[in-house]
Amino acid sequence: MNVIESGMGPVFSNPDPDEARAFFRKKNRTKTNKVMSLKEAVEKFAHDGDYLAIGGFGANRTPVAACHEIVRQRKKNMGFAGHTATHDMQILSAGEVYDRLDVAYVVGLEARGLAGASRSYIQSGRVKVTEWTNYSLTMRLKAAAMGVPFLPTRNMMGTDTFKYSGAKTIECPYTGKKLVALPALYPDVAFIHVHEADIYGNARFKGIAVADLDLANAAKRLIITTERLISTDETQRDPSSTKIPYHVVDAVCVVPFGAYPGTMPYEYFSDEAHIKEWMAAEKDPETFKAFLNEIIYDCKDNEEYIMRNGGFAKMNELRALELMIPKEKK
């Protein structure tokens, strides 16, 4: 079909739905207990060179513990989908985990400011970068979830964002209008943090979905980190509440406070003080090295990280903040 224009950015993953179909055909759909430690799940399902995508939105219902574990295991040369990647990006950049990056929003922390280390890593020129937008990355995951090689949208046109993307423009067969065609994105491995899941992987969360429903379907391997386990009786009682069915899930890791220091809706608010610590530590390489040892490399797991950061007292404070419970009423 005649392509009108092509972006010059590399596409880091294969949009071919038949290649993906052959993979998904082999995925196990029996009801098997998939509960394992996050350490084991990362060892088993995340490999050097994989294309990685994670759920949530920057520092909101983000699988932070999973990002820590990926860094702790010193994974390298990964591709990464940076859709509003903020604190997650700080962590992955600190470990220099990725060397190719689909960018929608990176090196920023929204209202908090900029993420220095992420920025210097990308400015170092050691990272291949292709530009997209938040919606475009979502649509690329949706295309994969739908089993089609591309989806059309009406954004990006007329900009350098398009020029430095891997997208193409085409003409609508019905209206003759120019449209952007976005190539399907099938991540090799994805992590999504949820409120509740059963042992097979039937998972629930509350609040905004961001891109997680499409991500769950698009990812070739999916690890669920969950605040807590629930019984399969409960997921079966109310299938309308299941957001991610077990068929697409490879591992279930029980990780309380797995989104800390980010926000987990209805559970705990973000620890802004700790994120400020990060931003400060990032400014000096030596300080940052010590800081990373303290909170990641020297921690056995997320529990140790939480305990080093104030434990239950801090978590209870953050819960009160999230629920907007006035101090005096505590």
Partner: protein, 255 residues
């Protein structure tokens, strides 16, 4: 005279194709009965998929509609039609059972019209989700009574894709690669499709029938496998479960 009817035979034979952990897109009636039977005999983790959005239910009884509440009873997902079909399109669904008023030698199906489309002699429901399931699911199967009016040389309307014109025509069509008709299970025999020509081929004949019967009750020339087996009849256990648990009111298997 055997102690089972042809519907019970077809359902039992069909159910044996559904291994544990497989996914199958079904409609109401015999296909659903076959899936339920498989779940209760050898494939407890068979994932049954309904086009309206029910995914992985533990069916408490036969649904009347592929959208009624039974289709998402204790399900892993009460989703949307888009969800179901996206699972299929993504390659997640192994099998589907379909049917029609007419079938040809390549397993193409007609469930749309007899006669001219503009002013049909008989209007049938149309594709529904059949064309979608047949396009996306890896292996399409048909359970149907066999006769020359149903097994025809040329369809009045090709609603649902089989192997199209045979050979590599489906591979060239744009439909997902590697998916297509797999087994045709009738009251008289079981057919598959010859790998090169993609033409329907008799591989086993049901108890009480001869190859002659199968050929006489088909409107096109059937290929015949080198070795034809006799179709294994329903076991006592299959019949008991089918009659007592799957279809106690005999909606599908009849009296």
């Amino acid at each position: 005279m055997a102690d089972y009817n042809s519907m019970e035979l077809m359902i039992s034979v069909a159910s044996r194709e559904l291994e544990n952990g497989a996914t199958v897109g079904v409609g109401t009636g015999a296909p659903c009965a076959a899936a339920m039977l498989a779940q209760k005999v050898a494939s407890p983790d068979l994932v049954i998929v309904f086009e309206a959005g029910g995914f992985g239910p533990e069916l408490p009884e036969m649904p009347i509609s592929v959208g009624d509440s039974r289709t998402f009873y204790k399900a892993s997902l009460a989703g949307s039609m888009g969800d179901t079909m996206e699972y299929c399109a993504r390659g997640f669904v192994d099998y589907t059972f379909l049917g029609g008023a007419q079938i040809d030698m390549y397993g193409n199906l007609n469930s749309t019209v007899i006669g001219d489309h503009a002013k049909p002699k008989v209007r049938f429901p149309g594709s529904g989700g059949a064309n979608d399931f047949a396009s996306f699911c890896w292996r399409m199967m048909v359970m149907t009574p066999q006769n020359s009016k149903r097994f025809v040389e040329k369809l009045d309307f090709r609603t649902t894709p089989g192997w199209l014109e045979g050979g590599d025509s489906r591979a060239k069509s744009g439909l997902p690669l590697g998916a297509g008709p797999y087994k045709i299970i009738t009251d008289m025999a079981v057919m598959d499709f010859e790998p090169e020509s993609k033409r329907m081929r008799v591989i086993s004949i049901n108890p009480g029938y001869q190859l002659k019967d199968v050929k006489e009750n088909c409107g096109f020339e059937l290929l015949v496998a080198d070795k034809i087996k006799e179709t294994a009849p329903p076991t006592a256990e299959e019949l008991r479960i089918l009659r007592e648990e799957v279809d106690p009111y005999r909606y599908v298997i009849g009296r």
